[in-house]
């Protein structure tokens, strides 16, 4: 777990994080504090029909000017541009997103051209903005992506079939309203898979070559919360204490990752998702323990710390043995949560593994894995996970 004197980092988490049951109802005050007069809600077509949505709209009161509810899973450049047009027509000066990662990323995307002019694709790049984007209050309805505190928005160019990453300090949401009541409606399967996305953010932020101590602290606590509260929330989706702790876990795991990187697990999960449509959380959940075992000899002391956070009694164990126990503990957690254990169970054909192994090499995350990867090494991990 040690660092050497070459350690140098910047840690950013400028988001005001507001937590508590019912805090979504404070959205009006938050808009006022940001100097907003005309707020637009960004959400999807399912959420817009719910009471959760209506409460937020009501809480905005006179500040509310309209809603853009055309966000779809895996949001796209065309959706963001359509949302921007709507916001321009309504003369919007503050954005409120209600939803999961795709909705929050859409709002991050809209915030860019709404401030700078033009279309979203004009800002394809890294840290390109020179001033803060339009203020954005994020209200997550899932506990997984951590997008409410991260500096990236992943938006697909569906026409060109490529992924655009808008990574910019100035699109980190200004406020995250973490309200456990907003996540009670999440079905068990989604609850579990999004939680494992958060778990993967925490573990990967620790084993990446770019890890930093502040992220370690966030990640270790996120791991501790997920292992302790996921079983409860799976048993009773209305357990508001557990729902709340899961929201906190996803948020701090996101903050950890946003300041470090991810590695092998995400690189493979992105490729499995891109090629065979396996949902991000499910792919991460299946691949995470295999990623740990594969990387074990590169950083056993990190996995020993992760094992401890997972509640494993590692006294008297070597770091390697403790690391193996970390993988076991994750398997136990995902089995209990009813998540698939093998890639073969989620529609990935065995003859597709080589293609995934090749694809993952061109994923940016792979570079920051603690062990250097190539297609053959990727294939070893994938075969284990199949």
């Amino acid at each position: 777990m040690g660092y050497d004197r070459s350690l140098s980092f910047i840690f950013r988490c400028p988001t005001k994080i507001v937590f508590g049951e019912g805090v979504a109802g404070d959205v009006g005050n938050e808009v006022d504090e940001l100097g907003g007069k005309r707020a637009m809600i960004i959400t999807d077509k399912h959420l817009v029909e719910t009471d959760l949505y209506r409460q937020v709209e009501k809480a905005l009161g006179r500040r509310y000017v309209g809603t853009f509810s055309a966000v779809e899973p895996d949001t796209g450049v065309h959706i963001v541009n359509e949302g921007t047009d709507t916001a321009r027509k309504l003369n919007v000066d503050c954005l409120v997103s209600i939803g999961g990662g795709s909705v929050i990323d859409t709002a991050k995307g809209i915030a860019i051209p709404l401030k700078e002019g033009g279309r979203l694709e004009d800002y394809d790049g890294f840290q390109l903005l020179t001033e803060p984007a339009v203020p954005h209050i994020a209200i997550p309805t899932t506990a997984g992506t951590g997008s409410e505190v991260t500096f990236a928005a992943i938006i697909k160019d569906h026409q060109e079939k490529r992924k655009l990453v808008f990574a910019n300090t100035y699109i980190i949401p200004n406020v995250a309203l973490l309200d456990p009541l907003m996540t009670v409606g999440m079905p068990p399967h989604l609850t579990a898979s999004t939680a494992m996305d958060a778990m993967s953010h925490a573990v990967e932020s620790m084993h990446t070559s770019e890890r930093i101590p502040i992220s370690d602290a966030f990640a270790l606590h996120a791991i501790h919360l997920i292992v302790n509260y996921l079983p409860g929330v799976m048993e009773d989706g209305n357990d508001l204490l557990a729902r709340g702790q899961m929201l906190i876990a996803a948020c701090i795991a996101g903050a950890a990752m946003s300041n470090t990187h991810v590695g092998l697990v995400h690189a493979l999960a992105h490729s499995v998702g891109g090629r065979f449509g396996v949902p991000h959380g499910i792919a991460n959940s299946i691949l995470l323990p295999h990623g740990i075992l594969y990387n074990l000899d590169a950083c056993p002391e990190i996995y020993a710390a992760i094992a401890r956070a997972l509640g494993v009694d590692i006294r008297g164990m070597s770091d390697e043995d403790a690391g193996k126990k970390a993988a076991d503990a994750i398997w136990e957690l995902t089995k209990k949560a009813g998540l698939p254990q093998k890639l073969s169970e989620v529609g990935v054909p065995e003859n597709g593994l080589e293609e995934i192994a090749d694809l993952a090499i061109s994923d940016g995350a792979i570079v920051y894995n603690p062990k250097p990867m190539d297609p053959e090494e990727n294939l070893k991990v994938l075969k284990q996970a199949w």
Binding site: F126, L128, A167, G364, V367
Partner: protein
């Protein structure tokens, strides 16, 4: 002899160093497209206007490298911009280009996932830059 960083002489040496680097040739074998580097103007150290470099990088080779105007530089599919102090850190090997972007010290215009595929190649470019004996404007 040391070359003033940045200057036309310096970038010419940089181009030679790129073409002498086998590891760059290998890791950038599929890279296609010019990259522009912009050093923000800083009159206090003698950089009266933005200093812009155009590097035509193609399949592991530097086909051409030259000083261009800001207008020309901005036409490149990939443009990386930063202050003199941050570029200096990069060529001295104290700041990785991707880490520099993560930290907001360098700004990239262009498709990030594409750049990320070539992180190793970008590290090699930095090594090439470090090989050029440099005389820094602020020292």
């Amino acid at each position: 002899m040391a070359y003033k960083f940045p200057s036309e002489e310096w970038i010419a040496e940089f181009g030679k160093a790129i073409n002498a680097n086998e590891e760059y040739k290998r890791t950038a074998a599929t890279w296609e497209g010019p990259v522009a580097l912009i050093f923000n103007a800083e009159p206090a150290i003698g950089l009266d206007e933005d200093f812009c470099v155009w590097a035509d990088l193609w399949h592991g080779e530097c086909r051409e490298i030259k000083k261009v105007t800001l207008e020309e530089a901005q036409k490149a599919p990939y443009v990386i911009r930063g202050s003199y102090a941050n570029w200096k850190q990069v060529v001295q090997g104290r700041l990785g280009p991707v880490k520099g972007m993560m930290q907001g010290k360098l700004k990239l215009k262009g498709n990030l996932p594409t750049i990320m595929k070539y992180v190793k190649a970008s590290d090699e470019l930095v090594k090439c830059a470090a090989k050029v004996p440099s005389e820094f404007l602020d020292e």
